[in-house]
Symmetry: C2
Subunit: 94 residues, 2 copies
């Protein structure tokens, strides 16, 4: 609850990804069963994925994220986006 703000952002590992998914789901007060129904995913898969299973299938992971209302953005690291508008805020890695 402390870092809900930093909940969303870069993820590097399956564990981080799962944590984001779980926290997001909890915030939305959804149960695994509900998400299961919405996304045609087994509660078992969801449970394991949210706990960071490294071997979960990417297709299902993406589906789970979509079902949860999460967006996956891919961008070059350490490089600004080529597109519209210059943004700011690049600060991580102490």
């Amino acid at each position: 609850m402390t870092d809900e703000d930093s909940l969303y952002g870069t993820v590097q590992t399956a564990e981080e990804l799962g944590r984001v998914a779980r926290t997001h789901r909890k915030q939305r007060r959804l149960t695994l069963e509900t998400v299961s129904g919405l996304g045609n995913l087994s509660t078992r898969f969801l449970s394991e994925f949210e706990r960071g299973k490294e071997t979960a299938e990417i297709g299902k992971v993406l589906k789970a994220l979509r079902t949860l209302g999460l967006e996956v953005i891919i961008q070059p690291r350490g490089r600004a986006m080529p597109v519209h508008r210059a943004d700011q805020a690049r600060e991580e890695t102490p």
Copy 2:
């Protein structure tokens, strides 16, 4: 075809993810073998992943992306960024 301008951004499926990875790798003039060496990933895995294999393991996918210098960002959909700027919303209906 696919514009490389919009290369980076939201991905919804394994296919899209793979395409981003491949295009990015090509732009960097890296071979599968090189990436394989850098990331401890088999060329076979990389080849399949870039071609959109739905069942590729999330852990390896994330590792491949990191090795390629790509960043994965997770954020709520239909929600503006925490900071300023109102921007585009959603689309796509299941």
